[in-house]
Subunit: 353 residues, 2 copies
């Protein structure tokens, strides 16, 4: 065991502050990583504030962060895929049972025994629960370590590990390709990645937003059209025309307005998770054999595929780089959607502390 | 034009009673059919009572009935598929535009210009709207006429034209085959057909019902297991295990309880249409990449495929045969779900009137 600096919350109402946490000494299969950047995901805030208490009560102190980019500093004797100096990433998972049907299919995101990057019981007993990426270093089984294409900006690559794969995976799953018409609802951390991917896949990409002032930005990100969703006429013009819609809105909203925009056999996938159940009209689903689904992150093979795709197409998140000392302010701004489109923490700021 | 006897409602609050209605003289492409049996669908009642006023206001007098089995009495000069004496069926559609992408794909159920068997504007101007199967005879374009396998009971075959195809189509669409685990929610007119099809496809078939006294019947119809949905423990035991669930319940019910029974990538399809929106938990969909969809009837080619499948497997609906004079009583009993599992009108009773 060794000690490393981290930022943690001590309770649901505490600000995040610097502490020292233990990390395990590398086993044969482990990769030790110096963390260079860590994206700030809405989940980090939910977890730090114990807002998911009913499904996953937070254990304090908690160290959030699951959009990790860093450099390999050490590898265990059995590690074959990575060597010291490699640029690597860690997403939302650091382990799984490796044996269930989902793991065998490379779909670790559905493993019933998955180990989350933060807040899961720590199998290695280094700490009560796993600690995330708001820290100087991390030690992870090589099978959950991903390769970051060297041409990408590291600050912008970090959010690919959660926001990137969360939007990439459902588009691949539901067959978004050239010639399809794709909608992206909500232009935030997830939505702006959705637009970049839909555009890169060659789809005709339409952004739905409540904010007319986001139009220019949406077009810059790759949208072909922007629809202000409060405009009933503009919505009506799009009726029945979408093959796929990615719904990135976590706030309450009228899902039926979007279901009605789907063509026959069209699908709308939720990646934001509104707290309250969404009222869904059966009639809208029946009349076009439409479907409503959800999607979490992706599996490890697909996450690597996504990163490689980003390398080829030079796709990263649009980020505002902050020092770790600004994390509490960043949380407040994130709640107000006051960021274009993701905070990325420069972890050099923690080392210098 | 010629006159034929029919049963119709004169207003939303009238009982159905005998009248005389016009039918067009056959065109070159038409088939004239003597109606032998007509199934009684819940839609008939909704339409007769103008309960779908907002989407499709009823034009009176109205003649319901879209589960029609009969014998060809006359064919137009250009009719190639049928000849006098053939046993044929008519379902929910009697025409469409024949040219839209849906029609070209054989998916007439999604044609924006489809002509319903009853209640649609009558292109031939024989009457203000089309008149359905509660009548002695009907004249239909041959492309909407289906062949009934001669080995099937005609009374039991009639409901295949709506209840049959409505349950067959989504199971085919979502890949129900041998080795899959399939749930059927609600054991009524639709549900009992769903059980027969799931069983015939070789799936492990589980019926969900609120009525413990339906267990024996469900097993007789082909279910491998029966779960009383009010039993939380019994429901919990089925969690995460279904590839596909057919939800045949038109009343309000907890859809999330069933979404949670789906396995990864599982689908639940609504074929009953509850009036009020269903509250759907985004979390349940996201965690297993599950989907909720809807499905109406099927297209003409698939309806013929379903009828042929029924011929091969000797599948018909379980019906209670009634004379047309009992139709008002049958409606009252249908509202109370007091029928196992579909009424089928013997149209000889109308001829004799």
């Amino acid at each position: 065991m060794y000690k490393t600096k981290a930022y943690s919350a001590a309770s649901a109402t505490s600000s995040l502050a610097s502490i020292s946490i233990p990390r395990r000494d590398s086993t044969d299969r482990d990769v030790q990583i110096e963390i260079l950047f860590c994206g700030v995901c809405h989940s980090d805030l939910h977890y730090a504030r114990d807002e998911w208490h009913d499904v996953m009560p937070t254990v304090y102190p908690c160290v959030p962060g699951h959009e990790i980019v860093g450099r390999v500093t050490k590898t265990g004797s059995a590690v074959s895929k990575f060597k010291e100096g490699d640029l690597v990433g860690i997403g939302c998972l650091v382990d799984s049972d490796h044996t269930c049907p989902n793991c065998r299919a490379g779909l670790q995101q559905f493993c019933p025994n998955q180990v989350l990057t933060y807040g899961s019981p720590d199998k290695h007993r280094t700490a009560p629960v796993t600690y995330g990426g708001y820290s100087e270093s991390i030690v992870v089984d090589e099978s959950f370590v991903l390769r970051i294409p060297v041409n990408l900006s590291l600050a912008g690559a970090a959010p690919l590990l959660c926001a990137g794969i969360t939007t990439y995976s459902p588009m691949r799953h539901w067959g978004v390709t050239k010639g399809k018409k794709v909608g992206v609802v909500g232009l935030g951390g997830l939505g702006h990645m959705g637009v970049k991917f839909a555009h890169a896949f060659g789809a005709h990409t339409v952004v739905f937003t409540t904010s007319p002032n986001k139009k220019e930005d949406a077009l810059r990100l790759g949208a072909d059209e922007v629809v202000v969703s409060r405009n009933a006429d503009a919505m009506q013009k799009q009726a029945g025309s979408f093959d796929f819609i990615l719904d990135c809105v976590a706030a309450e909203h009228d899902i039926n307005a979007y279901i009605n925009l789907l063509t026959r056999d069209g699908n709308i996938t939720l990646v934001g998770a509104p707290e309250k159940p969404l009222p869904v009209s059966a009639f809208s689903l029946i009349m076009g054999r439409r479907s409503l689904s959800g999607s979490p992150i992706g599996g490890i093979p697909e996450t690597q595929e996504m990163l490689d795709f980003c390398g080829q197409h030079n796709i990263t998140a649009d980020v505002e780089v902050i020092p770790i000392q600004k994390i509490n302010e960043a949380y407040e701004r994130m709640v107000r959607s006051d960021v274009k489109y993701r905070f990325s923490i420069d972890m050099a700021s923690l080392k210098a502390e």
